[in-house]
Amino acid sequence: MTIPVAPEMEIVATAQAAALGEYIAMSRDKIDEVKLALVEACINAFEHANCRDEQLHLTFRLGREGKEREWLEVEVLDRGRGFNHAAIETPSPEKTFASHRKRGWGLQIIKSLMDDVDITSGEWGTRIVMRKYK
């Protein structure tokens, strides 16, 4: 699925994630967590990536570990300028409330809501792969 870098397109993407989550009978609360993580990954790319093709490329996968552990995986790929995610400062409520800068929580939220998160980035762009177990 490819979405344009445009307002509220992240919500279009969440419908796909929800449909796949429902297909594997993932709980509504877990689907909400996947949806919010996907929203955060999309708006991070919209705001910071400076995508050369003005698009985000999304891939949704379903899989299973062993006999029981089904999962839903979402990959968000942008062809932007990339970033060094190891250099991103971890936000904290104390810093957020003490300063004028309230933003910068996207990656922290993604990592908190998803079970596995893998981020690779370079001059070619950024790929975030997020997995949630059922």
Partner: protein, 119 residues
């Protein structure tokens, strides 16, 4: 397709209740802020924000809610949230909103608490 958040509000005595319906992003957050600041300007010092018809609040929307909370605190007021989905509740706790504002399961519980604090 529009997922724009609708915000409505009502004043009950010294308390203003705000209801949201839909996705809270930057526009939704700003709409909530406008409504909240309007009540603060009219002297209200206790706000209850009922999110039972919202399933997604993104980090931009939450950052605006933090600004609203700070303004309420500057006015020596109180802000309470209710009707949160587990995911929104979790996100509010991650970002620290729960350290500075109380969260209640229902509007009645929130109203009871903030009313007692303004009495």
């Amino acid at each position: 397709m529009s997922e724009t958040c609708k915000v409505s509000s009502e004043r009950r005595g010294d308390v203003a209740i705000l209801w949201t319906d839909g996705y809270i992003n930057n526009q939704g957050g700003e709409e909530i802020a406008r409504e909240a600041y309007s009540h603060l300007d009219q002297g209200v010092r206790a706000l209850v924000l009922n999110l039972e018809k919202t399933r997604i609040v993104n980090s931009i929307g939450i950052s605006i809610l933090i600004e609203v909370l700070e303004k309420v605190m500057d006015c020596k007021g109180v802000l309470a949230f209710c009707g949160l989905t587990p995911t929104i509740d979790k996100t509010f706790r991650i970002m620290g909103l729960a350290q500075y504002a109380e969260i209640f399961p229902t509007q009645d519980e929130a109203m009871k608490k903030v009313t007692s604090q303004t009495a």
